[in-house]
Structures are given as structure tokens and as C-alpha cells.
Amino acid sequence: MTQLNMVQAINLALREEMARDDRVVLLGEDVGRDGGVFRVTEGLFEEFGPERVIDTPLSESAIVGAAVGMAAYGLRPVAEIQFLGFIYAAFDQLFTHAARIRTRSRGRFTAPLVVRTPYGAGIKAPELHEESTEAFFCHMPGVKVVVPSGPYNAKGLLMAAIRDPDPVLFLEPTRLYRMVKEEVPEGEYTLPLGKARIARPGGAVTVVAWGSMLQRVMKAVEGYDAEVIDPMTLSPFDGETLLDSVKKTGRLVVVHEAPLTCGLGAEIAATVAQEAILHLRGPIIRVAGPDVPVPLAKLIDHYLPSPERIRAALDEVLQY
């Protein structure tokens, strides 16, 4: 086994899936000769040629829209949107079409496609390069949303996403791209979509976090009897793991980068408030970005939930 970072793990997943199944085709801006602006598709153009690794014009709506047509025709397109901040032009294609083509055609046509995109803050890039608007996409019945948290699960989740019969939005936390290396086996393995992972067992409080916030949470909870859940799939959310944990700990803190209001933390809190409220000892605390547009580099550290804010939330809820 080899030690790989997340970029390499995703690259390996793509390579292996492309070798296994010639219906798997990559498309997007700069995914070809350049190998992607983060080098995620590096070497694939050389290995599989321009018919399998397609540089598209600069047109996000057409990238997702064409993927819908390709998938309906029988391919397994893996589209890249260069940054999540540029996906909004393809929102219509995702929501109106990718999400609904199976329903609309009563199962005659489907959209087994993946949209991969770098996601989240923390790389001090220009405006719109540090977005984390996962909640939008979790409100789209028919679309799955996945966020890997490390190289190992990135590979297994991406393989599962590519094989999934429906559209999957695969959000790659840029901050984790090269942060850690892990043992990543070669060859096939998939992690089931819709299953969360207990990143750290504990008894006094449940903390849910994903993407780059998960790393931060793991550090922040040191010294606390906290159970940390890494959902990995944000939609459909693994309510069972969440509820089991909260029923045990009686306390819940959710941490995310996105602005607080209508972020995914709301759904997680609401699920617990509906289905396990009698097990709760205190308030459900959401530690999230404030309700402002994601700021540029000079202010980003003030925007993101800090370790102090996370610990303050733990301290507060543990009072109950």
C-alpha cells in the first residue's frame, strides 16, 4: 500500500474507474492537458486520451447539461466544476435536469453522473474560490452530496459515486487536498454513500463536522468526552448514526463553514429536534460561518469557526 494525499487518492480512483469501465469519461475546464488546476486529473489525459478526458469551453451550464445528455445516452460522465463558486451557473441544469430526469421520464432515462468540485475555505484564493454552499444541493431531491474527509475515504467514496445510478455532487475540501497522507490501497473498494463514520467515539456530546472543519473539530475536542461524526455523505444524511449518538450523549454541536442561516446544520439540528428531543439535555448549538459573503484572505480566518468558538460551544452545552 502507498501513502497518498487526497489529490492522489482521487486521481487513483478516477484512473482505476476509467480503466475498469470505458463509459467513465471526464470533462471540464482544464482537466485535460493541464491535469486540472489542482492536478487532480494529472496524467489521465496522457493515459486515456482526449476522448476520455475532455477539455470543455468555459461554460459551466453546458458542462453539467452535457453530462446529463451523456449519462442518459449511456456514459458515466465525471464532470469537474473548477471551483464550487462557479457552479451556480449550472444550478439550473443540476436541479431542473440532473436531479429530475429519472422522475420526469419515469425511469426511462437516468443521470448517473458525478460533478466533482473543489470546495471550502482556507487556501487564501480569490473571491468565489472558497465557498461551502452544500446546503443548496442537499435541498435537491434526486441529487446526492458527498464530502470526503481523508485520502482513504475520498477514493472509496468517489468510486461509489461513479457507480451510483444517480447524480452525485462530490465536494473536495481544498484545504485537505495535500494536508495529510494515508494508506490508500490500490484496486477496487467502495464506501457506501449515505453512511456516516464515527471519527472519534465519546460519551458526553456529539459533534458533527465535515470537510476541513472536521480536522479542526478533531483538534478542538481533545480533552473532551466528545463523539465526532463525519457524515461523509451530506445528502442523504445518515440520520440513524446521528440519532444513535445523540441518544447516547444527550448533547449536540454542529460545526460548518457555511453561513449559519439555512446551512446544513439547520437540517441536522431539526432532525434531532424532531426525532430525539426527549434525549437532549441542552440546546443544539451550531457553530457556523456568519451570515455574510465569504470574505477574502485577509478576513477569512475571522470568518471560519475558530477552535475557540468550537470549544466554547462544547463548554456551553456541557453545562447542562
Partner: protein
């Protein structure tokens, strides 16, 4: 060379049958008498389907419905050139194309009756479901064509849309992709000169829609959209070109929406009856009848017989449509995903106790 000419482009227009039914024989497509009569029947069937739909809507037996009156030639003529293996991406006003392609008539009524199940294309037909969001299916057509090209399938992909559709960003992105990748696509615009109440002159300053192809490096042609043979000929050539690797073509069928936009609309609010009247003289069926008559393929008796036959087909379709039991509540969940989430399963149980 200070100020020089960089490039010159021409846009052509095709007509075959004159209003009086005479035709340019050098351009009349090579079709048998049976085929020419089949086209006639499909035109009649389209009109009968449409008329009945309007009646059903008035009686509350289907919902809002967009009439195809006046556009029969553009739809039948183009669809008649399509092969079974080709892929078709319709908008919402191509019932004439649907029925030419053999789409079950009762399913069309079912769909406009508010029942999704009408959109399940029978196996073996490659017709994408009706696209209500204007123009947004154009990238799908490009994608399917790209897939076909990568697979080496010698097929063509057709997308239908209206003049209003040419203003959408997705029109541009889909056309550009098709152009740069040389995809086997045929884009058919029914320029019926209105997008609800917005006339073509308020839709674009382009002199023709066909010329928009210049922006993407492929051919655009305008055809007389009320001339079924011109539409057929242009489409067939474009399809052959596409299947043979010659890349995309944009065909503008200049026609006219004789009806209100839909049964919810009242066109008298925004256009003059005189304008519509003028177009009545250019009725596509009338013109084709004159053409057929000159060839000895048509007379009043034959017309009456065919109208009767079409009416019977429509009666049967309406009967079938109305005999389908309504969907069960749980059917909302049937095709959301390959597999339902635990939450959706619970919701499904709640919905269908």
C-alpha cells in the same frame, strides 16, 4: 493591410412548394407517393390531435395545453427525416414531431392531463421527455451527441426549440459545445415569431435566427417552415451530414403560431387578428394539399377519408388516456432515485397508508 475584410458569411433560405402548390422539381425530395401521402396523413393527424386537445382542455379533461396549430409542417417535415436510432430532444410544443415518430398519442394526452407517466418514452424510441424550461435541453442534446461520437455510433441528435429559446444562455453554451467538438447535432428552431407575447423583433436584433450559427462556426439555414418538403429536405440533409461526421447544422423553420400561446393565454391582448389572418393563407396543410393535388395524390374524397381515419385514431387515444386509472400517491417516489433513502421510505409509507 490596415482595415481589411477578415471573413464573409452568407445565410441561405430554402423553399420548395410555392403557395399555389407548384414546386421546384429539382428540389422535391425523392419520396414515393405513399411516403408523400403518409406525410399528409401525419399533418392531418397532428391537426386533429391538436384540435381535440383544445376541446379536452375546455371540458376540463386535460390541463393547460400549448397548441401546435400552424406549425404542423415544421414538426412533421423534420420528424419524418429522423431515423429510429437518432436521439430527439423536444421542447414542449412538438406534438406533431412526437406523433410522427410514433410516440403513443394517449400518452401525450396523459401528460397534458397532468400525469407524469405520459412521459415514459416506450422502449426502443430515443425521445427525451418534454422539456418545459425553455432552451435548457440544448446542452443535453450536445451531451448525447458527444456520447454518440465517443461511442462511434453513426446517429444524429436532434433538438427542437422555439425562437424564444434562442435567447437563453443554454442555447449558446450548447451550440458552442456542438460547434467546437463537431458533434452530430441538428438544431431545429420553430421560429413561430412569438414567445408568448414577445414578438421576434423584441427577442433579438438578429435579422434571421439562422445567422446565429455564424457565431459557432457551423451552418445555419432558414427554411419556409410551412413548406413540409423544404423542412424535410433540409432536415434530412443535415441529419445525413451529422451522421457522416460533418458536424452540426442549425435549421430555422420560419412559421407562425396560429393559436394562443397556451390555453391559459389570450393572444388578442398583444397581437392583431390581421396578422394571424395573413398567415392563415399560408396554411401548411392547404399548401401541401395543392402540391399533392397537382401530382394526382389528393382530392376532396381522399382528404375526407384521411380526416376520418385521423379522427378515429384520436378517438381511440382519448379513450385509452381516460381509461388509465390515476396514479397512486406512492408513485411520486417511484423514480426519485435508484434507491430511496430511509427518510424517503418513511415519507412514502406516510403518503400511501
Amino acid at each position: 493591410m490596415p482595415e481589411s475584410i477578415l471573413a464573409t458569411f452568407t445565410v441561405k433560405r430554402l423553399e420548395i412548394i410555392a403557395p399555389d402548390g407548384t414546386a421546384d422539381e429539382s428540389l422535391v425530395p425523392d419520396l414515393s407517393g405513399d411516403e408523400l401521402r403518409r406525410i399528409y396523413y401525419l399533418l392531418l393527424l397532428t391537426r386533429a390531435f391538436d384540435g381535440r386537445a383544445l376541446a379536452l382542455q375546455r371540458e376540463g379533461r386535460i390541463g393547460t395545453y400549448p397548441s401546435v396549430l400552424g406549425q404542423e409542417a415544421a414538426q412533421v417535415g423534420s420528424a419524418f427525416a429522423i431515423h429510429e436510432r437518432d436521439w430527439v430532444f423536444p421542447s414542449f410544443r412538438e406534438m406533431g414531431a412526437h406523433l410522427t415518430l410514433g410516440y403513443p398519442l394517449h400518452q401525450l394526452y396523459q401528460y397534458w392531463g397532468g400525469d407524469e407517466r405520459g412521459l415514459r418514452t416506450p422502449d426502443g424510441m430515443n425521445i427525451f421527455p418534454i422539456c418545459v424550461s425553455v432552451g435548457t435541453h440544448i446542452p443535453h442534446a450536445a451531451g448525447a451527441a458527444l456520447a454518440a461520437k465517443l461511442r462511434g455510433d453513426r446517429i444524429a441528435v436532434i433538438a427542437y426549440f422555439g425562437d424564444g429559446g434562442t435567447s437563453k444562455g443554454d442555447f449558446h453554451e450548447g451550440f458552442n459545445l456542438a460547434g467546437v467538438m463537431g458533434l452530430p447535432t441538428v438544431f431545429i428552431c420553430q421560429n413561430n415569431q412569438w414567445a408568448i407575447s414577445v414578438p421576434l423583433s423584441a427577442q433579438t436584433a438578429s435579422r434571421s435566427l439562422a445567422q446565429k450559427a455564424v457565431a459557432y462556426g457551423f451552418d445555419g439555414i432558414q427554411v419556409d417552415g410551412n413548406d413540409v418538403l423544404a423542412v424535410y429536405r433540409a432536415t434530412r440533409e443535415a441529419l445525413e451530414k451529422a451522421r457522416g461526421g460533418g458536424g452540426p447544422t442549425f435549421i430555422e423553420c420560419l412559421t407562425y403560431r396560429m393559436s394562443d400561446h397556451t390555453t391559459s393565454d389570450d393572444a388578442s391582448r398583444y397581437r392583431s387578428p390581421e396578422e394571424t389572418e395573413q398567415w392563415r393563407e399560408r396554411d401548411p396543410i392547404l399548401r401541401y394539399e395543392r402540391f399533392l393535388a397537382k401530382r394526382g395524390l389528393w382530392n376532396e374524397d381522399y382528404a375526407a377519408e384521411m380526416k376520418g381515419k385521423a379522427g378515429g385514431e384520436i378517438d381511440e387515444a382519448v379513450r385509452r388516456y381516460e381509461s388509465v386509472p390515476p396514479p397512486a400517491p406512492g408513485e411520486m417516489f417511484d423514480f426519485v432515485s435508484g434507491e430511496l433513502s430511509a427518510r424517503q421510505q418513511r415519507q412514502r409509507e406516510e403518503a400511501s397508508p
